[in-house]
Subunit: 306 residues, 2 copies
């Protein structure tokens, strides 16, 4: 395949960047892949595993001559990285990111970029509970969604090129405005993550139920929460601090509904519970029909495929 | 293998009973497997797929001459079934169950059983989001825990025999008293299920975030909740109504902790969030070390095995 970009610079080399590097190579999407990370240890690993064509010590060096620059750092570090690379960006380059929050990233990054680059924020809805440069794999984005958030003055050609790039990485692409993105993700990702973190923390706190019991008997449901609650702490701290309003709004709705169900339990209102649990079962079927999850029982963990 | 019981009667033919039937056959644990279900349609399916050696129309018929009787009905139906079978149980038979709650089941079942049978409640910590007689598979209990709850007057020989039976089905076996069981399960299973049901219900309610968006973008975390929230509504209604106190206690602790984290988000206390998320990550490692889950990213769904 003809490369879509001649030189792609990955700033930050965690799960998403390393998966992008491998998926780019799989399809030949980039003439050259340049990578950098703040930590010398991370850069060293990237060199050892041959993740990129070239690793630079600084972000400023990485972006020189790149026609695509991808910010793959935690949301809270985006502004600082943008300030560092701003003066070194090539004329006509596209700058994008992979942050889980879009409004706050736009506000942090935009002011540091020169007029002669295109800034097109993006968010691939893909990840695992693992992190770091060794955790990447080429298939991470296959059949997952990547949301592009073009700006009012974005060049349609540049948006189309970025869309083709993400499709080349295996993703389905949609466009969305920043505020709607942040609300949708508060529902589908940010609130669920906070809830999972909370439940796992509560289990850890309970002294009467020893650690070993919680762990031994986790297969009854709890272990699904622990997978989510094993996600990268820095990334998630930044997500919550930077999508504060939408997350708190959804958590407010969640608490309201939880109280109603607790009340149904306390008063013995079995009909309310049964009706609620029947409704939620239908949503699962929708996700499986949409190809966004497996119908194999227990995610296929149990050894039985369908 | 020499059968552990000459005749096993399964009352109720859902996911657990059908998996038990298949696992018994795999190891030759029963001389004869007799099954029954309240619904004629379920009995018909069981006949079609050859699940048991014999299917009876009534529970009273099923238990005749059985040396092991397993109650595999929702917790709320246990008392009624016990009343029905009580007069028909064979002298010296062991009666057990697979309910997710133990104190309430003991209170509902015990009074209906004659003195000349052994009642040894049990709970296999295994399941999937699927239900019904076609959903069973022989591997369901492999390396999962089964908790036995012997009564003060239980015959040690009968307890040992039931333990060997469950080990033959593939499970690891522990013993526990009923109240402790109900508290541990409130933490590892009941509270997580209610929370998942709640979050999925909230997502379904939000009119600004259309159904299709919630479903399309579910891979960001939400879909793990939907698997749990697709579990059998009747079974779970009964669990909550019958483990009310422990579930409400854990949910109270959960809400308290959730409010503390919401407050940290609102006030921008990143250190609190980061410390909390780092602690929860460690629990995941414990579960993987204990062999209770896979370390494959995203439960192996993403196609990358480790």
């Amino acid at each position: 395949m003809t490369p879509i970009y001649d030189r792609v610079a990955l700033i930050g080399l965690g799960l998403i960047a390393s998966s992008m590097a491998l998926a780019m190579k799989r399809q030949g999407l980039a003439g050259e892949i340049v990578g950098t990370a703040r930590s010398a240890a991370t850069r060293q690993i990237a060199v050892e595993i041959g993740l990129c064509d070239r690793i630079t010590e600084t972000a400023a060096d990485a972006v020189k001559g790149a026609d695509l620059v991808v910010l793959c750092v935690p949301v809270g570090a985006m502004g600082q990285v943008a300030a560092e690379i701003g003066p070194h960006l090539a004329r006509g380059a596209t700058v994008t990111d992979v942050g889980s929050v879009k409004r706050a990233v736009i506000e942090a990054v935009q002011p540091h970029l020169p007029d002669y680059v295109e800034f097109i924020p993006a968010h691939p809805l893909a990840g695992t509970e693992h992190s770091g440069p060794r955790s990447g794999f080429a298939e991470l984005f296959d059949n997952r969604w990547c949301l592009l958030v073009p700006q009012p003055d974005s060049d349609p050609e540049a948006v189309l090129r970025l869309r083709q790039f993400w499709e080349g990485l295996g993703a389905n692409v949609d466009e969305m405005d920043a505020d709607h993105h942040d609300l949708v993700l508060a529902v589908t990702s940010h609130a669920p993550h906070l809830i999972a973190y909370t439940m796992v923390g509560v289990a850890d706190d309970l002294r009467r139920v020893t650690d070993s019991e919680v762990i031994k008997y986790s297969a009854a449901g709890f272990r699904d929460f622990t997978r989510i609650a094993a996600s990268d702490p820095t990334m998630w701290r930044d997500v919550f601090l930077n999508n504060k309003d939408a997350t708190l709004e959804i958590l407010g709705r969640f608490t309201e509904e939880l109280f109603a169900l607790q009340r149904a339990i306390r008063t013995g209102d079995g009909d309310h519970l049964h009706a609620y649990f029947t409704r939620t079962r239908a949503i699962r079927r929708g996700i499986i029909s949409a190809g966004q999850d497996t119908d194999a029982p227990d995610f296929g963990r149990s050894g039985r495929k369908v």
